[in-house]
Amino acid sequence: MARTPTKGRKDGPLLDIRNLRIEATVYPPGEQPRNVVLVDDVSLKLERGKVLGLIGESGAGKSTIGLSSMGFGRGGVRITGGEILLNGRDIRKGNTGDVRRLRGKEVCYVAQSAAAAFNPAHKLMDQVVEASVEHRVSSRAEAEKRAVEFFRKLSLPSPETIGDRYPHQVSGGQLQRVMTAMALCSEPDLIVFDEPTTALDVTTQIDVLAAIKEAIRDTHVAALYITHDLAVVAQVSDEIMVLRHGKLVEWGGTQQIIKEPRQEYTNALVSVHHIEHQEHAPGNKPLLSVKNVTASYGNSAIKVLKDVSVDIYPGQTLAVVGESGSGKSTLARAITGLLPPESGSVAFEDRTLANRLADRPRADLRELQMIYQMADVAMNPRQTVATIIGRPLEFYFKMRGRERDQRVAELLEKIEMGKGFADRYPAELSGGQKQRVCIARALAAKPKLIICDEVTSALDPLVANGILKLLLGLQKEEDVAYLFITHDLATVKSIADSIAVMYRGEVVRYGPKSQVLSPPFDDYTDLLLRSVPEMEIGWLEKAIQGRKMVGAGN
């Protein structure tokens, strides 16, 4: 895969963006449409074969800058100022044909969700070699040969034949690696990685990360690596650029950014995970007790829960951890009655809950609320915040009119959102605000237990941190217990009182937090713990070497 340096290379940086300015028109409620500046006066330089990490929360303009290097503005976004010099020529001055020759040949793109980026109707190989053949980089046979080599390098299973599969026939982590192979296949000078591991499990992320890092090293391709996870970007980048609200905050070497950040905001990003939480000892009587529950989908064809028993004590948090497919969410569905268990029982305050949701009295439903991972789809987009939060009040407490509005205002206060939000629609809220409204909806029912299903995994670290603090604060105030489902061990450390580790439908480790998180570990807990990215250069290699097993999603 050694590249011949004869492709008409010029000296100087590969990508040189100068004073980039990107704008879009927004239509705020009740106001005239106005222009917003998404990226303001950002300049960057990228040498051949180097990796620059772009980091910041949502809306920082990371992806917008990344895509601008291909001359592309997503959804009505306009590049209005500055120069984008790629290989020494300004791509903004080129016409459509020039841009078309550039995309997929000189610059390639790896999207966040490979599952959504692949066309489900075509085989993987057809899509991987498409750009090479289209741009006449090489013949189809050669491109396929190269693709297979990349498959092997990215340690995909059976590299010779995986190209014959369709996107739905490989796992998420594998698909992400196929997408990386697709970007590498046309031998570009630059690859834009747009959050390539964010949608993956921690145990899978580590493999994909290692594969990407190795591929970059071996092919000497330059890369822009976009992510909101500083620990991840520290593993692959030479330099890191911190962005906020479309402006440059700090730009420096990886070591400097993570060890000696000069700006306060960078410091906040570096130290985001620390929440002090004193573990409570389990009480005498559990609030909710799950006993030997077995559940399955499709007429007991596939058992997703095998003999699971856990207890949750009043006012405490039980964290359920595990990778996708370990049965965490199914446990929540069994407890709520959405998926009636085949055997075993769920007891709530001494009484046994009916297996089926339809058979449970309203009081039982009220005391057990749920918060979802995707706040976007957990709220009816056609209802205002006031209706969303007000409905449980009407439904369970028969509150009407003024009384209800008053209570809605109180709840909005509790979730640290002002009055102005009551009349808004979910589409007018940010990700963090949406999740807060969902929390308020759950709280409105005055529950004794809230099931939180990956409530922070779709959010930026700083926003997620805010949500976790809010949840902990509310737990103290309202004395509510949480069943916290997550795959992120850092989150678990900061909020849990006891932990249940799940693997393939079974609880493999269960107990108070301090006990579960102290050695000796079983292999799976060890893998989970090792897979949590640490803000340290060289962590990735150490973690890969030290682990005793490989994640199920690999």
């Binding site: 409620p29 959405l338 009816n380 056609r382």
Partner: protein, 273 residues
């Protein structure tokens, strides 16, 4: 919302629709002559007394168009309303309730749809007495099968969203789920379908009248008027084209309005954007 924000196409559509509706409502006051009154020669040309000329037996064409608007729009509106209420409610219920109800309803609808609408309508109407009520019922029920299929397909997708699950976990009943969770989210495709279905109702009624099974003479109705005057075309007399043009104009203007309403209901920000 200000009037200035209405796009030009929608404004034209609104104006024309409004004119047709006004003509339908105020027909007796607007029409210069009675609908069955013979006032002139057969197929007289356009003149100052008869703006659109006269028809095959010498009735004033403009007056008949105005009275025709009344019958045509009245029947089409009621039939469309019936088909939408019936189709949407049954379709949503089938999607939400599922099981045997869904099975029975869907097969029943398949059965009805297997027979071509016009032929089915012809058979039913030739057996039953042709009154306006039977016309509306036949048209409404036949058309509701199409609405049912659309409503069910849309609702099945919405029914699996997390917010519907959240409502179920809260303990909400089927009625709340259908009307408060699903209906507002299914409105966009339904409204776009509404514009189309209304026009199909007008055309269907016109086709029935043309075949002699719809609105009975001397009642004026646009489809029937095309039929009455069709022989004139052979002699180069365009009287049949005028009610035909009225049907086309109504079709276009209603769809312009429907498209505009559709654009507004698609907004997830309450149309404030």
């Amino acid at each position: 919302m200000s009037f200035r924000s209405i796009p030009i196409g929608a404004a034209i559509g609104l104006l024309l629709t409004f004119l047709f509706l006004a003509a339908a409502i105020f027909a007796p006051w607007l029409a210069p002559f009675g609908k069955a009154q013979i006032v002139g020669d057969v197929w007289a040309p356009m003149s100052s007394t008869h703006w659109l000329g006269t028809d095959n037996i010498g009735r004033d064409l403009l007056s008949r168009i105005i009275f025709g608007a009344r019958t045509t729009i009245f029947i089409a509106v009621l039939a469309t309303m019936l088909s939408f209420t019936l189709g949407a409610v049954l379709g949503f219920t089938a999607a939400v309730v599922g099981g045997w109800f869904d099975m029975v309803m869907s097969r029943l609808v398949d059965l009805l749809m297997a027979i071509p609408t016009l032929i089915f309508g012809l058979v039913v109407l030739s057996v039953l007495p042709t009154t306006i009520v039977t016309l509306i019922l036949v048209m409404g029920i036949l058309d509701s099968t199409r609405v049912y299929r659309l409503a069910r397909a849309v609702a099945v997708d919405i029914n699996v969203m997390d917010f519907v699950e959240a409502a179920r976990l809260r303990g909400e009943g089927t009625v709340w789920v259908i009307f408060r969770e699903i209906l507002p989210n299914a409105l966009s495709p339904l409204i776009s379908e509404l514009g189309l279905r209304f026009i199909y109702a007008v055309l269907f009624l016109s086709a029935l009248s043309f075949l002699g099974l719809g609105v009975q003479p001397p009642e004026a109705d646009w489809g029937g008027m095309v039929k009455e005057n069709k022989d004139g075309i052979v002699f180069g007399i365009g009287a049949a084209l005028i009610p035909a043009a009225a049907i086309a104009a109504l079709a276009i203007s209603v769809n312009l309005v429907a498209d505009w309403v559709l654009n507004r209901t698609t907004s997830l920000k309450g149309g404030r954007g």
